[in-house]
């Protein structure tokens, strides 16, 4: 193998709020290769690349460029060292021309002060010719197509002398034709000796163009492989699998009546494409219904529609026969619906507020928590102390701001709040994402306890092991549709499930219809 042009060794990154984004990550690039970096959202890819590009300081670890240790304090340092980055969201000035964007920050001068635009155009044309990337230097960026903008971004990096080019999900915004063109360009760059990091979810593309792949999961590297040595299924498994195999004892008691019923949910996304297409199912009392699927196949929208946050969704959502789809969140919760949100920092908690304040946010209004006009702080304090103990939350006490806790402990606070109010329905969205195994187990046990008490649980998770182990029945979503329903998912293999998740296989309408339990 060619010599390693860049090495990131034992990189660990802990953000000041305690989130560990990278844990002992090793990443190395060989000269002149196209190297894929794959992993789920939140696996730590972006953080790793931000460290490489000088946007974040690593907490630990070192970067070696051609064997020499380097430290990038800011993107300028990284650019000077020959690293270029094409962000997913383009960093261009729309009202400037291509040439003006190209030379931004390194403007050629006339008489030392005046901007030399003619020189800018010449530079642009020269580099465009050199790399065979054709752009019109005088066109305004706002009038360009997305594919063209991306070319400008690539050229911008090249004109600054980038030898290593990082492309963050470059094909996410491209049409298939543009993608094909991009691939030609990348191969061309590779031939010229450039090294390319290709971040993508689209495994087919990764297989088509990359030489090697580094897979990340939960902040760690899962391995580096020559692209021919792994199949798409292998990659998927490595991306979403879990090191500790979960095993839980579940009793086989019969389910109660359907508690949460979703009927014909249909919703259009921003581009007119259906993000939910006639989704129907029900969750019975004492049942955990798992939802599997590659992220971005309608799971988020499904939850939004259930919680009444999605405007313009057609279809109905009922809890115990009461339509809740049009109710506001307070009323939905009054129906006994609890919700563990996917993003605990954004929705699940108020970071600067105390653990106590975070624990009472869904019930502070009720009579039993108030004495006249005042909140019953003493009772709330007691509740907090007992929940902190029951969930083994590592904290100094109920008054500690929740933002100071680790991710796992923060998630335990969220789960404690949502599960303590005897919910009839629990929507659990990625309930254990980014938390340690111990916290995950406490959370899983709590969910199983709720199940025993007759709560209907809808579990959405990208963690296949979790879904398969906890769910009593399972639906698979692909492109906004339910493509499969299983009433005994523990007998299902991950490989089999993967075929449905990738959309290569789907059940007939009759079998899917059984998800309605009607």
């Amino acid at each position: 193998m060619a010599e390693a042009v860049l090495e990131m060794r034992n990189i660990t990154k802990v953000y000041p709020n305690g989130v560990v984004a990278n844990r002992d990550v090793n990443f190395s690039l060989a000269e002149g290769e196209i190297h894929a970096l794959a992993g789920e959202n939140g696996a730590g890819k972006s953080t790793l690349m931000k460290i490489l590009f000088g946007m974040e300081d690593p907490s630990e670890g070192e970067i070696r460029l051609r064997g020499a240790k380097v430290r990038f304090r800011n993107p300028q340092d990284a650019i000077a060292a020959g690293i270029g980055m094409v962000h997913q969201h383009f960093m261009l000035v729309p009202s400037f021309t291509v040439a003006e964007n190209m030379i931004l920050g390194m403007e050629p001068k006339r008489n030392g002060v005046m901007l030399n635009l003619r020189e800018a155009v010449r530079i642009t044309e020269e580099v465009a010719r050199k790399y065979n990337l054709h752009v019109d230097p005088l066109a305004k960026v706002e009038n360009l197509t997305v594919g063209m903008k991306q070319k400008v971004e690539i050229l911008k990096a090249l004109v600054r002398g980038a030898q290593i080019l990082v492309l963050d999900e470059p094909t996410a915004v491209l049409t298939p034709q543009e993608t094909a063109e991009l691939f030609e360009e990348l191969k061309m760059l590779k031939k010229n000796g450039h090294t390319i990091v290709f971040i993508s979810h689209k495994l087919k593309e990764v297989k088509a163009i990359c030489d090697r792949i580094t897979i990340m999961r939960a902040g760690r590297t899962e391995g580096v492989f020559p692209i021919d040595a792994v199949s798409e299924q292998d990659i998927t498994r490595l991306m979403v699998g879990r090191d500790v195999v979960l095993k839980y004892e579940k009793d086989g008691r019969p389910y109660g009546k359907p508690m949460l019923r979703v009927n014909g949910l249909t919703m259009a996304g921003a581009h007119g494409k259906l993000v939910l297409n006639n989704v129907s199912f029900s969750v019975r009392e004492g049942e955990i219904l798992g939802v599997a699927g590659v992220e971005g196949n309608g799971q988020t929208q499904l939850v939004e529609a259930i919680m009444g946050r999605a405007a313009g969704a057609a279809g109905t959502v009922e809890v115990d026969g009461t339509e809740i789809g049009r109710l506001d969140i307070e009323r939905v919760r009054a129906q006994g619906v609890a919700y563990i949100p996917e993003d605990r920092m954004r929705q699940g908690a108020a970071g600067s507020a105390s653990i106590l304040d975070n624990l009472i946010s869904t019930r502070y209004k009720r009579k039993e928590w108030n004495i006249g006009p005042l909140l019953n702080r003493k009772k709330m304090w007691k509740l907090s102390e007992s929940l902190i103990e029951a969930f083994q939350i590592k904290a100094s006490g109920p008054a500690q701001p929740i933002g100071m806790l680790s991710g796992g402990n923060m998630q335990k606070v969220v789960v404690a709040r949502e599960s303590d109010a005897n919910p009839r329905v629990l929507i659990a969205e990625q309930p254990t994402r980014g938390v340690d195994v111990g916290a995950a187990q406490i959370i899983h046990h709590k969910m199983l306890e709720l199940r025993r008490q007759g709560c209907a649980i809808l579990l959405l998770s990208a963690d296949l092991n979790e879904v398969l182990e906890l769910s009593d029945s399972l639906i698979v979503m692909y492109e906004g549709e339910i493509v499969a329903y299983f009433d005994n998912p523990s007998e299902l293999s991950e490989q089999e499930l993967g075929l449905y998740m990738l959309g290569t296989k789907r059940q007939d309408a009759e079998r899917i219809g059984r998800a309605r339990h009607a």
Binding site: Y15, P16, N17, V19, A21, N41, G42, G44, S46, T47, D328, I329, E330, V332, R333, Y339, P341, E342, D343, R344, M345, R346, Q347, G348, A349, A350, G351, S352, A353, D357, I360, S361, T362, Y364, K365, N370, P373, L374, L375, R377, S396, A399, Q400, P401, M404, Q430, R433, G434
Partner: protein
């Protein structure tokens, strides 16, 4: 956690200290009689009963506007409308105050409540626009300040103006409406009691009631509040109602307590000072009192200095700006930092 709390306190004390040191530096540079000038600035405000009275008199309106601003800032609302409301509600109170035939207790009460009610109504408009259409409260509240000044001057000139007075001012406020002095030898009036009482009420409201809880959670993380079932739009509206009411009775009390006639022909500036008070107090209701007294103290000190020494009172503006800059700079950085952390955390969930 304790550390963090102390850190905030230290940071604030450091800001105050820097401001005072800077004042000393200015005096060293400007004054011919440096030590005497310093003594005047630092000691004169507490040298006599009447001077202490001056400090307290000035602190009273600052407590009101400081409280009104602190409530807004707590919600992450940058509403500076207390300035215009303070002025306009003072005018409303004066309009009630110049009437005759009311008893000494009912009259000021009526005038103050009228001022407060008008303050609430004005703030409601801004709050409603924010909650309903997400209209930027900074812009609308600043525009309201101009509108209120213009409308207020019109009312003063055409309805309340005493033609026999030498300056632009209203008829005399009836003796029954004027607030009683409570400390002999000073002009300190019953408004002080109202102000301190209000501090206690706001403290209880913010930390001990469910509405205060809604306010704090909406301010801390609006998405979280929404998700929990809190109607954040409604919270924004009632915070405006309360804040407007506090600014309104503040203006009313200032007029009835300190002015024989309503004679403001420009915005008095107490509303903007309230922003400084609230920032210095980190939006804590109790700390607002300390911070209002501190500001009043250096104000009176600067005033004395301009009277008895060769350093002009305008120097105070420089000092105040420095305080504001330092205090809001660290606020700004904190906000920025939190936002970055949050963004990061969202991406990496």
């Amino acid at each position: 956690m304790l550390k963090l709390k102390y850190f905030e306190l230290f940071r604030t004390l450091a800001v105050v200290l820097i401001a005072l040191l800077l004042t000393m530096l200015f005096i060293l540079l400007i004054s011919d009689n440096k030590l005497e000038t310093m003594r005047i600035f630092l000691a004169e405000p507490v040298s006599s009963r009447s001077h202490v009275g001056n400090v307290i008199e000035l602190a009273i309106p600052l407590i009101f506007t400081g409280l009104a601003m602190a409530l807004m800032f707590r919600m992450n609302l940058f509403n500076l409308g207390a300035e215009g409301i303070f002025f306009f509600s003072g005018l409303v109170a004066a309009a009630v105050g110049i009437q005759t035939g009311l008893s000494p207790f009912v009259h000021p009460l009526l005038a103050i409540l009228a001022g407060g009610a008008v303050g609430s109504m004005i703030a409601f408009v801004v709050g409603f626009l924010k909650a309903k259409w997400d209209a930027n409260e900074l812009v609308t509240s600043l525009m309201f300040n101009s509108i209120l000044l213009g409308v207020g001057l019109y009312i003063l000139n055409y309805f309340l103006r005493d033609a026999s007075a030498y300056t632009t001012s209203s008829y005399k406020i009836a003796a029954t409406a004027q607030l009683a002095r409570i400390i002999p030898g000073t002009r300190v009036h019953t408004g002080l009691i109202v102000a301190l009482l209000l501090v206690v009420l706001v403290y209880l409201f913010v930390y001990k009631t469910r509405w205060g809880y809604e306010l704090r959670m909406t301010g801390a993380n609006r998405a979280f509040a929404e998700y929990s079932g809190i109607k954040t739009g409604r919270t924004i509206v009632y915070v405006h109602l309360i804040s407007g009411f506090i600014a309104g009775i503040g203006g009313s009390i200032e007029v009835l307590g300190m002015h024989p006639r309503f004679d403001w022909t420009a915005l008095p500036g107490h509303g903007f000072d309230g922003a400084l008070v609230a920032m210095l107090a980190k939006n804590g209701p109790a700390a607002v009192v300390l911070s209002a007294f501190f500001l009043a103290y250096i104000r009176v000190g600067a005033d004395m200095m301009s009277r008895y020494s060769d350093v002009p009172a305008e120097m105070l503006a420089v000092i105040q700006s420095v305080i504001l800059l330092l205090v809001s700079a660290d606020q700004f950085l904190k906000f920025w930092k939190n936002r970055m952390l949050l963004k990061e955390a969202q991406k990496n969930g």
